[in-house]
């Protein structure tokens, strides 16, 4: 799995949203969940949990977070550098000191991600179109509907739609006329073919 999911549990709006915007700035594919209390947090499954140490006492952590198998990574959020954590230090896999500067925080989070065995950089997105996708793109550019294409290629309309979604995701173009320009620029179709169709 290349996507990492984070959960931020804190009663403080500032902590939650601040940490989220920091995570979102990082170039990783991710999902960030927020919870203001433990009841909400328990309904969410995530890989790395950032827990407000003022709010979560280690003794009261749910079994799902502490049992050995499939245990998420637990990161304790320390509001102050001198935060006292005498009890149950061993529960936490990491600590994050919230008084750090932005660059230090980013560095710490990257370290935590790495040490937890997750990839810091996702595998580059596959952006090349498959031969099948090129065929479909060509037909779209020539003005065929999903239905036409399905009949021509002996596949279901549903499959055509799936291919089209993938094409759009890969090349970043959503509309039919945009796809047509793409197809022309990449010589999947030629101008005279299109004019034949429309003229």
């Amino acid at each position: 799995m290349s996507q990492i999911s984070f959960l931020i549990l804190s009663g403080s709006y500032i902590f939650r949203t601040g940490l989220r915007s920091l995570l979102e700035e990082m170039e990783i594919t991710q999902k960030v969940y927020l919870a203001e209390d433990i009841d909400k947090a328990l309904k969410i499954q995530a890989d790395i949990l950032f827990l407000d140490t003022l709010q979560v006492s280690p003794a009261s952590l749910p079994a799902a977070w502490t049992e050995e198998s499939h245990k998420p990574v637990l990161v304790g959020l320390l509001p102050h550098t001198n935060g006292e954590l005498s009890e149950h230090r061993e529960i936490w896999d990491h600590f994050l000191d919230l008084s750090l500067t932005k660059s230090e925080l980013l560095e710490e989070i990257r370290r935590i991600i790495r040490e937890s065995g997750y990839q810091e950089h996702p595998a580059p997105r596959e952006e090349k179109l498959s031969e099948r996708e090129k065929t479909i793109l060509r037909l779209v550019a020539l003005g065929h509907t999903n239905r036409d294409i399905a009949e021509k290629l002996f596949i279901s309309t549903h499959t055509v739609i799936t291919h089209r979604k993938n094409i759009t995701r890969k090349i970043g173009i959503k509309t039919v006329s945009g796809l047509t320009v793409y197809a022309l620029l990449n010589h999947l179709v030629e101008m005279d073919e299109i004019q034949e169709q429309t003229g």
Binding site: I173, K174, G178, V181, L184
Partner: protein, 245 residues
């Protein structure tokens, strides 16, 4: 947060795109040290409406839907209509003039300029159809609904067309701009005239952002507001009639 005590000049320093929003309210540059309150008084503008439009433009998380719905429809419709004029009267012609300038074409190859202009003109035509439908059909309909709702007079607006039909057929006018940006940024070759392309890209980004804001007002403010009035008319007059007969 922008308040009525904010100076006009600070508003524009905060985000220059607001110049066109101000223009829609009939406010031109050169405001000296005047505050929003002073300018709104001079121009006889609804300060609360003005502030909500500005604040939701600046911060997309700030969207006082309930508040906006409570304003008179005419204010909302006027603002949307002014915005349409800004698009068709100014922004679109500006972009078109640059990309179709044959003296100074954006790209080396004829076919690339041709494709760009063709795509853009198609977009322009779709936009004209979209905006015409709103200006000529949808907005007058909504005002008719409001008049009937407030006074009980005028032709009964609920004879077939409903604001939900509009929502259904309301297509996403930003989508093609998004494609156009990617075509220029990613897929066309490096331009012969980079300055023109930078300029076009900046205008496309601005326009796309503005349109998102615009469509959001149409779908999240205008539609629910009119739907509520339709519902109430239906319950009062049409409901009573059917009870009576």
């Amino acid at each position: 947060m922008i308040t009525e005590n904010t100076k006009m000049v600070d508003l524009v320093h905060r985000n220059y795109s607001l110049v066109s929003v101000l223009h829609r309210f009939g406010i031109a540059l050169g405001f000296g040290d005047k505050t929003i309150r002073e300018v709104c008084r001079e121009k006889d503008l609804d300060i609360r409406f003005f502030l909500e439009i500005i604040n939701s433009f600046l911060d997309h998380d700030y969207f006082p839907r309930e508040h906006l719905i409570s304003f008179p429809l005419q204010l909302i419709v006027d603002y949307l209509t002014q915005t349409h004029q800004d698009y068709l009267g100014k922004r679109i012609p500006e972009i078109e003039a640059i990309i179709s300038d044959s003296e100074n074409p954006c790209y080396e190859k004829e076919e690339h300029n041709f494709l760009l202009v063709k795509f853009f003109r198609e977009y322009k035509n779709e936009l004209i159809v979209h905006i015409r439908r709103e200006d000529e059909k949808v907005f007058p309909y909504t005002l008719q609904v409001e008049q009937y709702y407030l006074t009980g007079r005028g032709p009964d607006p609920l004879t077939g067309y409903s604001i939900m039909d509009y929502l259904q057929e309301h297509d996403d006018i930003e989508e093609k701009l998004f494609d156009l940006k990617n075509i220029i940024i990613k897929y066309l070759p490096p331009p012969r005239n980079p300055d023109a392309c930078y300029h076009v890209i900046a205008m496309l980004f601005d326009l796309e952002k503005d349109m998102q804001d615009h469509s959001r007002i149409e779908e999240k403010v205008l539609v629910p507001k009119v739907a509520l009035m339709e519902k109430s008319i239906r319950e009062q007059t049409h409901g009573n009639k059917s009870f009576g007969s």
